[in-house]
């Protein structure tokens, strides 16, 4: 287009307004520069989308992408604690404030039920709040830490689980570091050769898989509490409400 107008343009600029023509040229140049920038941006966008297999903000881990289930978990990835007749399944994210509230209200009750061998607690850690810990992916790292303990030192899984809630960070801050998680585990009796594995992130792929699976199976948020596979009917945030799941005749 510019070449055509160039050729039909009168050869000499108008008298007195010599800048008019240079102006027009300047704007035409600006247009082509603009189009060039636009094309470069579009190419850059396409390149980023095509090249980038997944969004990763944090430093990559050795086991990235690999799905390694901790030993001893059930076929659906359930972490069974205790051996009672009633199964209480809990889907949770260690960063989720409502899960912390549930633990406050019913953690001690579950502990008593476990001691009395009335229930089996089926822990389902998932990680869907990773974006709320300033890029440190606390949900994934804490769930991985639990999985690591389940794999290597299952006897301490329950107390570690409770200790993680006792130290639960709020949403929107950096969360606890792997070292801090190791410290918490160490305090409940997990040996340091196990806690040293946290930073490897061995089970992070499994946590991701569990998260996808949970949402695919109809979990809509956390905590989701099932009693023998059916949604818990009581108020999960009422202190001791879970005590009602035992001692009742099966329907």
């Amino acid at each position: 287009m510019s070449t055509r107008t160039q050729s039909t343009r009168p050869p000499a600029p108008r008298t007195g307004r010599g800048s008019s023509r240079t102006n027009a040229t300047r704007y035409r140049v600006a247009r082509w520069v603009g189009i060039g920038v636009l094309v470069a941006l579009v190419v850059a966008v396409i390149a980023v989308v095509v090249r980038d297999p997944a969004a990763t903000d944090r430093a990559p881990r050795a086991a990235d992408g690999e799905v390694v289930a901790p030993s001893g978990v059930g076929p659906e990835g359930s972490i069974a604690v205790g051996d009672g007749p009633v199964t209480v399944t809990i889907y949770f994210d260690y960063l989720c404030p409502a899960c912390g509230a549930f633990e406050q209200a019913n953690g001690e009750t579950l502990q008593q039920l476990l001691l009395a061998e009335d229930v089996t607690v089926d822990l389902r850690p998932i990680a869907f709040l990773d974006h709320l810990s300033e890029g440190t992916e606390y949900s994934t790292r804490s769930a991985n830490a639990l999985a690591t303990v389940v794999d290597a030192d299952p006897d301490h899984a329950w107390s570690f689980h409770r200790a993680l809630y006792a130290h639960q960070p709020p949403e929107g801050v950096e969360g606890l570091t792997d070292d801090q998680l190791a410290g918490i585990a160490h305090d409940v009796g997990v040996p340091s050769e196990v806690t040293a594995l946290f930073a490897e992130g061995r089970h992070e792929g499994w946590v991701a898989q569990q998260t996808t699976r949970a949402f695919a199976s109809g979990v809509e948020g956390t905590p989701t509490i099932l009693v023998d596979g059916k949604p818990f009917a009581g108020d999960p945030y009422e202190a001791g409400s879970l005590a009602s799941v035992v001692g009742q005749p099966a329907p």
């Binding site: 307004r17 704007y27 600006a30 603009g34 297999p53 997944a54 969004a55």
Partner: protein, 215 residues
């Protein structure tokens, strides 16, 4: 086009009245459509805000993953900067802009003070939209599709409104600045700049979130 530009008289870059008028009509129409889009998005966001107020853990159709999530963005404090959901601002302001655009499209010559007030108000709206986008990208860590539609629509309404105010000579600008803006519009550099700007934002989004944006 350029030939005409070269033939322009001593008055500089004033365009023929017919061309300027059709440019203005096009701008009114675009403003009408984009403000309608922004209104729809505001309505959806306002409805979501009401749902979220009743149920903190409500899940929406646009909660696609950790990165694209209306719920996450909607429950942030930034979503109610002034103590009520931001979308309510869109619900009260976009119909005004929509009405102005419809009137302009119908050929009404709106008084200068009205257009200047609209420009001032919408500039504030644009600032809010981009502050929110910045918060969503860098602090909330998630984006929501309807919020992005509001950002894009607000940008276009602002550009169209500014174009009308330049072409109709409403803005109190020095002559040289006005001439410059008229040339910019004449060469469609305003549209090009908008496209570059929006592509830049898209690039920022994809580099920060990668393909997670698309599912």
């Amino acid at each position: 086009m350029t030939l005409q530009a070269a033939r322009r008289g001593a008055d500089g870059a004033r365009q023929g009245p017919g061309r300027a008028r059709s440019r203005v009509r096009g701008a009114w129409l675009a403003m009408l459509l984009w403000s309608a889009a922004s209104l729809v998005a505001s309505f959806v966001l306002a409805a979501e805000a009401v749902t979220l107020a009743g149920n903190q853990d409500a899940v929406f159709g646009c909660d696609i993953n950790a990165v694209v999530s209306c719920g996450t963005v909607g429950s942030s404090w930034q979503a109610s900067v002034f103590g009520f959901p931001n979308a309510f601002l869109g619900l009260v302001s976009e119909p005004v802009v929509l009405t102005l655009a419809a009137a302009g499209l119908a050929g009404v010559r709106l008084p200068r003070w009205m257009m200047l007030t609209a420009q001032a108000g919408y500039t504030l709206g644009l600032a809010l939209a981009y502050w929110l986008l910045h918060q969503a990208i860098f602090h909330i860590g998630a984006v929501c599709p309807w919020c992005l539609l509001v950002t894009v629509a607000t940008t276009f309404v602002f550009v169209e409104m500014t174009r009308i105010n330049v072409l109709e000579g409403n803005l109190p600008l020095p002559r040289a600045a006005r001439r410059f803006l008229e040339e910019v519009i004449h060469h469609r550099l305003d549209l090009l700049a908008t496209a570059v700007w929006l592509c830049g934002i898209l690039l920022l989004l994809v580099t920060r979130y990668g393909s997670a944006l698309f599912g």
